[in-house]
């Protein structure tokens, strides 16, 4: 119901399809064709009925099945999301651990500054700065679009930046807690090499918080890359969402919101399973 209701907020698609001086008859006729002449509750029942049959309907503008349109964009969004996720992990984990291990030193202060900035700076601004430095200034990579592997670099950094900064903060905090625990001090007292203590004993036990955050970040990257995809004209689901809102394309919006919901449910399930793997004491 929420999905259905939210998609209606974007306006009436007829105003984009016909000119403003079209007759009221034309307006009504188009409404009949699009099913907009029905009462909203009936439109909702039709929508639910079709949903149970796996039919998300056709785009009002493109007249193609919504599933086909979504499938055409999913690879791009997944590619960007996973690249950004990897970027966030590869940057966030080492920095988070380093910050905890070098607690109170300049390393720690520098990394904490990065983390605060990373979470405070709007992704829109970061995206534009990246574009103006690396595309306009240095001309190393294209400004926008999806033409070749270099196109993904800037959107990856822009989308992964927030996740990396968050990962640093969460991991640093949980690592500090674990590093001060008795079993880690015992491991040190046994004379184990520092690397073993950090990565084998401390890191694994500090992972519960970061895993939750990483999962939410990943889900957010898959579903919430609207700003990044719009700024970089990256043809994924986020850009599709903006286009669907602009065009009041209800069926696409409904399909997108449904997809977002499913992604979050799936990711949360995966997180619960990962908990069990990381900490055998946890049982669902």
């Amino acid at each position: 119901m929420l999905v259905f209701g939210l998609s209606r907020i974007s306006g009436d698609p007829r105003s984009l399809l016909i000119s403003e001086d079209a007759t009221i008859d034309v307006w009504d006729e188009l409404g009949r064709e699009m099913g907009l002449d029905q009462p909203v509750y009936r439109q909702y029942l039709i929508y639910v009925g079709n949903l149970f049959r796996g039919d998300l309907g056709n785009s009002t503008l493109q007249r193609k099945p919504v599933t086909e349109i979504l499938w055409s964009r999913i690879p791009n969004t997944v590619r960007l999301a996973f690249a950004s996720f990897l970027f966030a992990l590869l940057l966030g984990i080492p920095l988070g651990v380093l910050s905890a291990v070098k607690h109170g030193r300049w390393w720690d202060r520098g990394i904490r500054a990065f983390a605060v900035l990373g979470q405070a700076l709007p992704v829109f601004w970061i995206s534009l700065v990246l574009i103006y430095v690396f595309s306009v200034g240095l001309r190393w990579v294209p400004v926008s679009g999806n033409a070749g592997w270099t196109s993904i670099i800037l959107p990856t950094i822009a989308l992964g930046w927030f996740g990396a900064a968050g990962q640093v903060r969460i991991l640093r905090s949980s690592m500090l807690e674990v590093l001060n625990s008795e079993y880690v001090q015992y491991a040190r007292a046994k004379g184990l090499p520092s690397r073993t203590v950090i990565w084998k004993h401390a890191f694994r036990n500090a992972l519960i918080g970061p895993i939750t955050f990483a999962a939410v970040t990943l889900a957010g990257m898959v579903t919430g890359s609207i700003v990044v995809e719009t700024v970089f004209a990256w043809p994924g689901l986020g850009l599709l969402a903006i286009q669907a809102v602009n065009n009041s394309d209800y069926p696409i919006l409904q399909g997108l919101i449904l997809l977002v919901t499913l992604v979050y449910i799936f990711v949360n399930l995966m997180v619960d399973i990962l908990y069990m793997i990381v900490d055998p004491r946890i049982r669902i």
Binding site: L128, Y132, G145
Partner: protein
């Protein structure tokens, strides 16, 4: 492993993963629309192919030197390639991009129509129709054969048939327009009532209703549903090569074109929604041209390889004092339903009580005072960066004509005089009002609307503003429910006079700017039956006098559309009037 080697390996691993991810993707084709060609297949159904196959069937000039041109566009809406289902906006750009053509086009450098798909025309002696001689040898893209009178008549009838969403349907139906093929290359178009706007509206490229000529054979072969998605069948200098919705459109020059071939062989139209990204793409050289928002235009022009210029017909920004509903019937005598209109509210200072001359005069003074309180030049200078001009007329005149007209109907900016008028009308302390600002046509419409509200505030009283989308506002406008002030923009490039076009079809039709007054409609109706341009201009002048005197609609500014262009690459690019979309790529000359 050496500690210095490890970071290098890590970076290599990241690059490897990104490359792998990239290789797994499908960058083109999946979302692209398809093309059909009778030459490619015998079966209408199997003629619909995937975009991956497009290059094999699109007509690509074999031996031309590739001259590519790349354009950034904000919104590229997928067109329905059936005349009756083609929405107004894509209807504009498939014509503007040179894929589909109209019978005539406005000349680039003079206010004259030139033949495009016809070789000549003449008006019927009774002034109720025209005979059009079609150009011979015009081939449809995709191998659909030569354009004939049959295609013309079919396209015309399909555009105006029951249920069509074509912009011209109201105009055509109100005049019971019909088309007949006289022979293979001759068409007769008839109306039952004279209408001086019809010819330009349908047969030139200067109006939303411009009639594109589609191949009848194509639609009959493919069927409506497949033809809807199929992008072949135009007659212009460019053929669609790829359409990836929301991503990119590629046009290829058509080597069977009936006119002068284009110097540009390939046009890439990249859909970039974010303006800052468009500008960055222009600065970096990724695109050769882009529209530029007024506040950025001057800075952009300072870049060594970039230039800016105004082009086409500007967008019109105006204030509607809504609620002026004083007609019980249409000019044809049909009763209005409902009457009185729900938005009729003579308690509003700008709405006169119908039939009460004193009240109507006071309302006129209020409207004139509002008009005089707006510092139009300030809006042009401070919001539009100089790319625009004050507007005093109810319609947008082509740039080549407007210098003749502007001064006579000028409204001076004079707050003191405006206050005096208000006092005379019985509002010495001003009045409270709501200014609705609708969005969707100009990037600065909210700012301009708020500026107008600020100027009105200077008259006294409290002026509130409310911002909403055009589509959100439309139902109440259609229902004639509004009696507040509405600041609205029209996007640039509408060569048809937006107010007059709407008014002359109202109150029969849907949209209305809050004005149903007999006098202007009667003058507009007179214009319909005029046969000579001199007479038309005389009546038009009379209409403008009336608008100047009554301020039924308060014109504010004309906002130029600004083009940013790579001057290192582009030597010349002449665009005809008639649309806000960048186009006429065949007129581009490279350095």
């Amino acid at each position: 492993m050496n500690g210095k080697v490890r970071p290098v390996l890590l970076i290599l691993a990241i690059i490897g993963i990104l490359t792998l991810l990239n290789a797994c993707s499908t960058t083109d084709g999946k979302s692209a629309s398809s093309f059909a060609s009778p030459a490619a297949t015998d079966s209408p159904v199997s003629a619909i192919t995937s975009a991956a196959d497009i290059s094999s069937i699109a007509e690509i000039p074999p031996a031309l030197v590739t001259r590519e041109f790349t354009l950034a566009a904000t919104d590229v809406t997928f067109p329905a390639m059936v005349p009756s289902q083609l929405p107004a906006a894509p209807g504009g750009f498939i014509r503007r991009w040179g894929v589909y053509e109209t019978a005539m086009v406005w000349a680039v450098d003079k206010p004259e129509l030139e033949n495009r798909l016809i070789t000549g025309w003449e008006m019927d002696p009774d002034g109720l129709g025209w005979i059009l001689e079609l150009k011979q040898g015009v081939q449809f893209h995709g191998g659909w054969g030569e354009m004939t009178a049959e295609d013309f008549v079919w396209s015309f009838e399909n555009e105006i048939k029951e249920g069509s969403i074509h912009s011209g349907i109201g105009l055509a139906r109100a005049n019971e327009a019909s088309a007949t093929a006289i022979d293979t290359y001759t068409v007769s178009v008839r109306l039952t009532r004279p209408n001086s706007f019809f010819f330009n509206a349908f047969f030139s490229n200067g109006a939303g209703a411009s009639m594109k000529i589609f191949s009848k054979k194509r639609i009959e072969t493919l069927g409506i549903d497949d033809a809807f998605l199929d992008l072949s069948g135009g007659t212009g200098p460019f053929v669609f090569k790829k359409w990836a919705q929301g991503e990119e459109v590629i046009l290829q020059s058509f080597d069977g074109y009936h006119g002068t071939p284009s110097q540009v062989t390939t046009v890439h139209i990249l859909e970039i929604k974010e303006t800052a990204t468009q500008i960055a793409a222009l600065k970096s050289g990724q695109v050769d041209a882009s529209l530029v928002p007024a506040p950025l235009a001057k800075d952009l022009a300072k870049e060594p390889h970039l230039g800016t210029r105004s082009f086409g017909i500007p967008g019109s920004q105006r204030l509607y004092p809504q609620g002026q509903f004083c007609m019980e019937t249409t000019l044809s005598g049909e009763s209005l339903d409902p009457y009185p209109r729900p938005g009729y509210d003579p308690s509003k200072p700008w709405v006169g009580e119908c039939g009460n001359p004193v009240s109507e005069e006071n309302a006129r003074l209020v409207r004139l005072a509002m008009s005089m309180a707006i510092d139009r030049q300030s809006i042009v200078d401070n919001l539009l960066g100089g790319f625009g001009r004050p507007s005093y007329l109810p319609e947008v005149l082509p740039p080549l004509l407007d210098t003749v007209w502007q001064d006579k109907w000028l409204i001076p900016y004079d707050v003191g005089a405006a206050k005096n008028l208000l006092a005379e009308a019985g509002y010495p302390d001003g009045f409270d009002a709501l200014v609705r600002i609708t969005t969707g046509s100009h990037p600065l419409e909210i700012e301009m609307g708020q500026a107008v509200a600020q100027f009105l505030q200077a008259l006294g009283g409290e002026i509130r503003t409310e911002v909403l989308t055009y589509s959100g506002n439309r139902p109440s406008v259609v229902a004639r429910e509004r009696s507040d002030l509405w600041f609205r923009s029209s996007s640039a490039g509408t060569a048809e006079p937006p107010e007059l076009t709407q008014l002359r079809r109202n109150p029969e039709n849907a949209f209305n700017p809050g004005l149903e007054i007999e006098e202007p409609l009667a003058i507009i109706r007179q214009m319909d039956s005029l046969m000579s341009e001199d007479e038309l201009n005389r009546i038009r002048e009379q209409l403008y006098d009336e608008f100047r005197h009554n301020q039924w609609i308060i014109p504010v500014v004309l906002a130029d559309q600004i083009l940013g262009i790579n001057t290192d690459k582009i030597l010349e690019w002449k665009m005809t009037t008639g649309s806000g979309y960048l186009g006429d790529f065949q007129n581009i000359k490279f350095k």
